[in-house]
């Protein structure tokens, strides 16, 4: 039976700010004067014009002693060593792959930074170069860690661990990098029945929890068996919950996603993205998170 909902648009209402923690944030827009005091050093996102410090991006002002910088609310991903990212292969070049990670420049995955099948440790030969496309092709998704950052800001990745590698069946959600909270671990096996990888670059990968951990597979073999319907429902519900949290600008981490999932259980999966249902679910999640803190 076809279900078609059409409605008139409703103006967005500003949701009241949650209890202020550590004072109000100083939000600025490009062109706003931050301070006229000349004693400050200017950091990222600011510039000096006629002895005034002016913001060049829209965001929150951060001050560390004498350094003033503006952290943009919506910006491309800036790589830092140790971050976990989920990326898509865009090109296969001579000894490396180019990976798209929602940053200003394409990231690089060198052939020497991936594990060879079978876990061998040897120098990469010409045969390995020719076999690159057999492992990772254009369009494939990988999970990797940032090894280093080049001087121009481009990021170099590595998959030198069994938990990184090519991703199999699942769903990708692209969000703004500033909404992913920095945590100890970004690989979560949620109790509702699916696993999620929260990439620092804003790419979120939701996939069915693998049954047993293959020792030597390490992300090489892709499981192409059909995913059962129960797992699909969990994955679709998680995907809609994450989109709802992003629409309401809530930080994404395992607890917030889980609370949102639980709050959405009374509703049907496809109803979660309706504006009124979305507001209700996110309000409940926000309340639960505040109770957790308080």
């Amino acid at each position: 039976m076809a279900a078609i909902t059409m409605r008139l648009p409703v103006a967005r209402r500003a949701v009241g700010p949650s209890a202020p923690r550590g004072g109000e944030k100083h939000l600025v827009a490009p062109g706003d004067t931050i301070t006229t005091d000349t004693g400050y050093m200017r950091g990222h996102g600011t510039y000096v014009d006629e002895e005034k410090l002016i913001a060049s991006v829209a965001g929150a002002v951060e001050r560390v002693n004498k350094l003033v910088c503006v952290k943009a609310l919506k910006a491309r991903y800036n790589g830092e060593v140790g971050d976990i990212v989920v990326g898509r292969i865009t090109e296969v070049q001579q000894k490396r792959w180019k990976v798209e990670t929602n940053s200003r420049l394409d990231s690089v995955l060198l052939l020497s930074s991936v594990n060879l099948p079978g876990g061998e440790l040897r120098r990469r030969s010409a045969e390995d170069e020719l076999a690159m496309r057999d492992y990772l092709q254009e369009g494939d998704l990988i999970s990797a860690e940032v090894q280093s950052v080049f001087s121009d800001g481009a990021v170099s990745l590595h998959t030198r661990s069994l938990k990184y590698g090519k991703l199999a069946q699942g769903v990708l959600v692209q969000v703004s990098p500033s909404l992913v909270k920095r945590q100890k671990t970004h690989f979560h096996d949620l109790p509702c029945g699916a696993s999620v990888i929260l990439g620092n670059n804003g790419f979120i990968w939701i996939y069915p929890t693998p049954e047993q951990k293959d020792e030597e597979a390490g992300g090489f073999t892709t499981n192409l068996e059909p995913v059962p319907l129960s797992d699909r429902e969990v994955i679709s519900r998680l995907r809609n919950c994450i989109v709802a949290l992003v629409n309401q600008k809530l930080m994404l981490f395992d607890t917030s996603i889980l609370y949102c999932y639980e709050a959405s259980l009374p509703h049907q999966i496809k109803d979660i993205l309706k504006p009124e249902v979305e507001e209700e679910i996110v309000l409940e999640t926000r309340q639960k998170l505040l109770d957790l803190e308080g």
Partner: protein, 291 residues
């Protein structure tokens, strides 16, 4: 066409999901995404509408101008369609990149409205063989999120519903020359009857089943799609196959039946929303682009 790149495993996941009637966002195969429709958003047009279908954003403006009727149809007005793919939607549309897609969309609209019963063109005639109303329908693609044809046809129908054409009178002089007089009251206008205006329903074949309202990811998994235009009474006015894959005649028949059914519900939902907007009148809070 705008497209995204997907890995083979992602495509497989989508295909298997469609098989089990559970798409990535939880919809069934015949469900549309939540749509938002608003009319009268552009002030210097005779009629306008904006439709948001998921991530697809379409703006349509209708301008009524006086022109001469076509030679083969001297007592009718006509519609002219133009589709502009804005570079806002995707960087591929920069410069002349969006021209090909724009002409394809415009040609489809011409085809859909080519049937005589869609719009009452005789009501657009002022003086046979001399003056008639020409409706210039301009479509602007603001964002591409899959399913462009459906969203455009919904927006065109809403804009035509909102169009107000000023009433004119033809006065005969003593010498026989005709003069056209515009009525003084700005609210004195004629409205078009959009009951028979068709809407396009795109059915994309994914695996062994077909889906309605495909997202960009689902379009990347489908090899062939069928575009059918359906009126509110369920009559088919045109049909077009797109995509490089092939379709079995039996699946075409099934897709046509689904399209007719879905098309009728689409018209009911759209008419309800337009009537609701009309009933609110001036008390409606206009949202526009900065809401």
């Amino acid at each position: 066409m705008v497209s995204v790149v997907l890995s083979e495993a992602e495509k497989l996941y989508i295909v298997h999901g469609v098989q089990e009637d559970l798409r990535v966002d939880g919809r069934g195969c015949e469900d549309y995404r939540c749509a938002e429709v608003e009319t009268d958003v552009v002030s210097n047009t005779s009629g306008s509408a904006r439709v948001k279908l998921g991530h697809t954003d379409i703006l349509v403006g209708v301008k009524a101008e006086m022109g001469t009727p076509k030679l083969e149809k001297p007592d009718e007005g006509y519609l002219e369609f133009f589709v502009d793919c804005s570079a806002n939607a995707t960087p591929e549309f920069e410069g002349r990149g969006g021209e090909e897609l724009g002409t394809e969309l415009a040609n489809t609209l011409y085809r859909v409205f080519s049937s005589e019963s869609s719009v009452d063109l005789k009501s657009l005639c002022i003086n046979p063989r001399e003056h008639c109303w020409v409706l210039y329908v301009d479509v602007l693609l603001l964002e591409c999120g899959g399913n462009l044809f459906d969203a455009i046809s919904i927006a065109v129908k809403a804009a035509l519903f909102n169009t107000r054409i000023p009433k004119v009178r033809v006065l005969e002089d003593e010498e026989g020359s005709k003069e056209i007089e515009l009525s003084d009251d700005p609210y004195d206008c004629i409205r078009l009857n959009v009951d028979d205006v068709p809407c396009i329903v795109t059915l994309s074949k994914i695996g062994y089943r077909h889906v309605v309202d495909a997202t960009l990811q689902e379009e990347a998994c489908s090899l062939a799609s069928l575009l059918i235009s359906v009126t509110s009474k369920g009559a088919l006015t045109s049909m077009k196959k797109v995509g490089k894959g092939s379709l079995d005649p039996e699946s075409i028949f099934e897709m046509m039946e689904t399209g007719k059914r879905v098309g009728k519900s689409l018209h009911i939902a759209l008419q309800k929303t337009l009537d609701e907007e009309e009933s609110l009148g001036t008390s409606r809070q206009k949202v526009g682009f900065l809401g």
